[in-house]
Assembly symmetry: C2
Homo-oligomer: 337 residues x 2
DNA sequence: CTGAAAGCGCTAACAG
DNA sequence: CTGTTAGCGCTTTCAG
């Protein structure tokens, strides 16, 4: 039957020490004599005692929980990131409280309020834009936050992204080197900084070679919108290459090209994506793409967040990590011409 | 600057009522006069007060957090489930504390102990097997647990799965009806109940038609192992159809068949999977598969867990939800012969 | 190093 | 309905 939970007082009684002694034994930085430690550990083991993390949090003001806000897990990049993030944080003794900022479950502002209620030590917002009002609240509550894969103009906000500008430019250079003349772009949701930066880098790269976008459609970062965008683009004036703002959409674009438009990739059209999600390496897609170095991005994110937790006065940091172009088979390769 | 957090006492002072009055106003089931409610709400709004969920949890014994143990998010079925689970729980006022039971971050037993430390109200274990010792600890701690997509012999353990036995049988019948004579099976990790049940249902279905497995290899539920398994199977005695224990592996099998073995699917080999993950519907795979009704499985899981939280004496339940065979193009279709 | 005592912010009887 | 009074389980001074 459900045995009542063991308290430190009970352990203390059994070990013949004070309750605070028990607390010290289970507090990382505290000191106790070898003898006390042994007695307490023994009693604790026999009773099956484990400290109550919540009570500890209430009094110490540190919950060792990190709130993670994430919008949708359909794009493979995010499960991957979630897993890495959770692992990295677990290693540091933190745990992740997940909040889905989906459409159904109330708006994002509500979600962040709820997170704050749980006294998280920090917040990671993955691919969600926050009202500045909200970031103020977090600040007011003294809860550091870092944006993952999004950046905001707000100078006090830490953010980790890949170098989307450079990435977009690399794609342009690659496509130009491949001899493409009619280059199209399928955009993501235009409110996203990643979308804007990738496009900017891309068109800058084009401009550097005196070229401009031959066609442009918006795919909103969803597969269905990307499909529609592809159909529209190829109905009017078909390009010979298309850069798609992320892999998730790029795969929809490839499918649409191949199975609805009967076009060959890369013979008829070159396709390049962004992210390098696991699926992109599958033979069926074999997608040329810019890699977002998830491991390094995660490491930086955790790093910044923990620094800020340990010292609230740490300056906000914006990091852009360079990612390589991964050349596979979905785009004509200049080297092999 | 980081303003100190507001307490109910401060709100009480400003509203000119007692601290407990404030507590009542913010406690769902409690009663307070219209007048008090107004005064308190006003003061709270002005101060930006929100109740501390952790302090509440300590004293009430209810944290309104659910621990979710999940092993790996690479198989798309799980991100999908995680998202649905989190949404469903959020709607009921619960939040999800995620624990990755990965290889790197310590073994699963440790993970569950950590969850328990956070005083979660319940645990959902997705696709992870627990030592019976561990389920005892949860029981002892009075924390209900339900297994998702796994079942265990332990009769006290609630579990929600699809009807894997029936699913496996459907595949056998479908393949037989398709006129296949040499039917192979690529197994998942053999410790998994899903693997065992799917295979059992499948071979039972074969046996009912006086057939037996023509070939069998183990793919461990990973793409690379599945690839190797495929290579082995087709090197020795190639079947004309293969049932793969889940979609994640099935896609690796298809890729291997097409791009390494130069076989056509379904002309040379029929492939059928299990799960119906989003990717399976993509034109590149167009995989015939047994759908696991994630939405219903999630709904049941949440239902069972919350019932048990509200009344610890609720009987454990094992639910198997029937899922349809989704006929697409990766296997020869009897109807079209 | 150790115990006693004072809280952390909140809920839950308990009288009124 | 409301305020007062105890705690929840733990950390953290503070003397010793």
């Amino acid at each position: 039957m459900a045995q009542a939970k063991i308290t430190s007082a009970e352990v203390a009684a059994r070990a013949g020490v004070s309750q605070s002694a028990v607390s010290r034994v289970f507090t990382p930085g505290a000191s106790a004599s070898r003898k006390t430690v042994e007695k307490v550990r023994k009693a604790a083991r026999e009773l099956g005692y484990r400290p109550n993390a919540l009570a500890r949090a209430v009094v110490s003001g540190k919950s060792r929980m990190i709130g993670l806000v994430v919008a949708y897990l359909e794009n493979q990049f995010y499960p991957d990131v979630l897993e890495r993030l959770s692992n990295a944080l677990q290693e540091k003794g933190y745990h992740v409280l997940v909040f889905m900022a989906s459409h159904t479950a109330g708006n994002i502002d509500t979600v962040v309020e709820e997170i704050l209620d749980y006294q998280v030590d920090g917040i990671i917002a993955a691919s969600v834009a926050l009202s500045s009002d909200l970031s103020n609240r977090c600040n007011a509550a003294g809860v550091p936050m870092v944006l993952f894969n999004r950046s905001q103009d707000d100078k006090d906000m830490s953010a980790v992204t890949s170098d989307n500008l450079a990435g977009g430019r690399k794609v342009a250079e690659f496509l130009i080197a491949g001899g493409h003349k009619k280059i199209g772009y399928i955009a993501g949701w235009e409110g996203a900084s990643t979308q804007r930066d990738r496009e900017k880098g891309f068109t800058d790269g084009l401009a550097a070679a005196n070229m401009a976008l031959f066609a442009r459609e918006v795919g909103q970062f969803t597969m269905e919108d990307a499909r529609q965008a592809t159909l529209r683009m190829f109905a009017s004036n078909p390009p010979d290459a298309v850069f798609v703002a992320n892999d998730h959409m790029a795969m929809a674009v490839m499918d649409t090209l191949r199975y609805e438009l009967n076009l060959k990739v890369p013979e008829d059209v070159s396709v390049v994506g962004y992210d390098d999600v696991p699926t992109s390496a599958w033979p069926a897609y074999n997608l040329t793409t810019v890699r977002q170095p998830a491991n390094r991005m995660v490491a930086e994110t955790v790093d910044i967040l923990l620094s800020k937790i340990n010292d609230k006065n740490t300056e906000p940091k914006r990091i852009e990590i360079d990612g390589p172009l991964i050349v596979r088979g979905s785009a004509r390769n200049p080297k092999e011409q």
